[in-house]
Subunit: 155 residues, 3 copies
């Protein structure tokens, strides 16, 4: 692939991830559904362990979600009543083929929990480890996403 | 427009916004004036409501500023005596024509207020909604900027 | 240099700096060594003054480190026992020649200190001022790095 095309792929994936963050924090679930491939997998299992420790509700699948509908339904349910801020930083995107890429993103999230929750706020830092796919029309989607943590504070 | 040119526009706008943030936090008001188009509009009205609630001073125009000189004068006045950190993240930039573009940026700001203020610190998160214009020499400027908030803490 | 090549250089330098941050926070010291030129210089002297004030240990060179081995050894020693988060934002990268570039990055860092330290956490904001060089194989390296601070809190 020539230089400009490779750069355009990375730009498209950055913009894809920007939509992920904006749709999350602005509760645009229709927009979020369009971020994920139909058969996408989201692995938040490391996160679930922490939520159990904190006495927060966890989804019945234990944090391993399959399919864009299940992913968006779980996001929408788990963030109900919260105010959230999710920011991504410093991507390292690698093209694996013309239609596949991988990426690592540094991240920070703040989840302000509703009244009556066991904690008031979760404030975390970590990395997203992701895979992207391009469909026949040239659009990119998140195909898999796994969150690992550096540090989380519950107050 | 060809691929490389479109990417170059987005890069130029990212660098424009980087100057906005650096000039803000380093108090480079001459540099900041060069970030805005002469007839730029800055809409901080949502912010003003919050500042009034917190007992902090608000500018007499109610947060809707017209013209680069008025914008920079208001910034310089409102940040006097403070220490600030403004960070931008995850831009979604769209070219509207050869000389116009729009962008959404996630943001975080920390404003440490001077001794004797009703609060010690403002810590906020939100999005900038912006429009950019290119002049005859090929330079890009912010033409309009509106700040919306996800979450603000005053301590 | 043509447009696409200039953009590719900036992308390569962003990815270089992304590795710097990831290797720092994930303690990948072999990866970190590969980020710096052999004769790199890291200037953390402004930081040392603050650490002395806080009663934290400082390196015997006073924060001016010469050579990639000395830089990585000092990082590894000073972060031993800590949990860290380092994020970079809003780069302004300028090509100075085909094989040299400069950059300014906004940054935030959180250093959670081990039990028994005089402070529990350092939370800071500032800018990296950097120079980059490209070797014969086309790889970019950090040649010099200086940290300036906007604001640091020790709690």
């Amino acid at each position: 692939m020539e230089v400009a095309s490779r750069l355009a792929v990375k730009e498209a994936i950055r913009e894809l991830k920007a939509r992920y963050f904006r749709c999350m924090d602005m509760r645009d679930w229709a927009g979020m559904r369009d971020v994920f491939a139909g058969d996408a997998v989201m692995d938040m299992r490391e996160e679930m362990v922490r939520l159990v420790e904190a006495g927060l509700p966890v989804d019945p699948d234990g944090g391993l979600l399959r399919g864009c509908d299940a992913i968006v339904a779980a996001m929408s349910a788990s963030l109900s009543g919260t105010v959230t801020v999710h920011h991504g930083h410093m991507p390292e995107i690698e093209l694996q083929s013309a239609d596949e890429a991988t990426g690592i993103w540094a991240m920070e999230d703040i989840v302000s929990l509703p009244e009556g929750s066991p904690c008031r706020q979760l404030h975390g830092y970590g990395h997203y480890h992701e895979r992207y796919v391009r469909d026949d029309t040239g659009r990119w989607y998140i195909h898999s996403l796994r969150l690992s943590r550096l540090h989380v504070t519950l107050i």
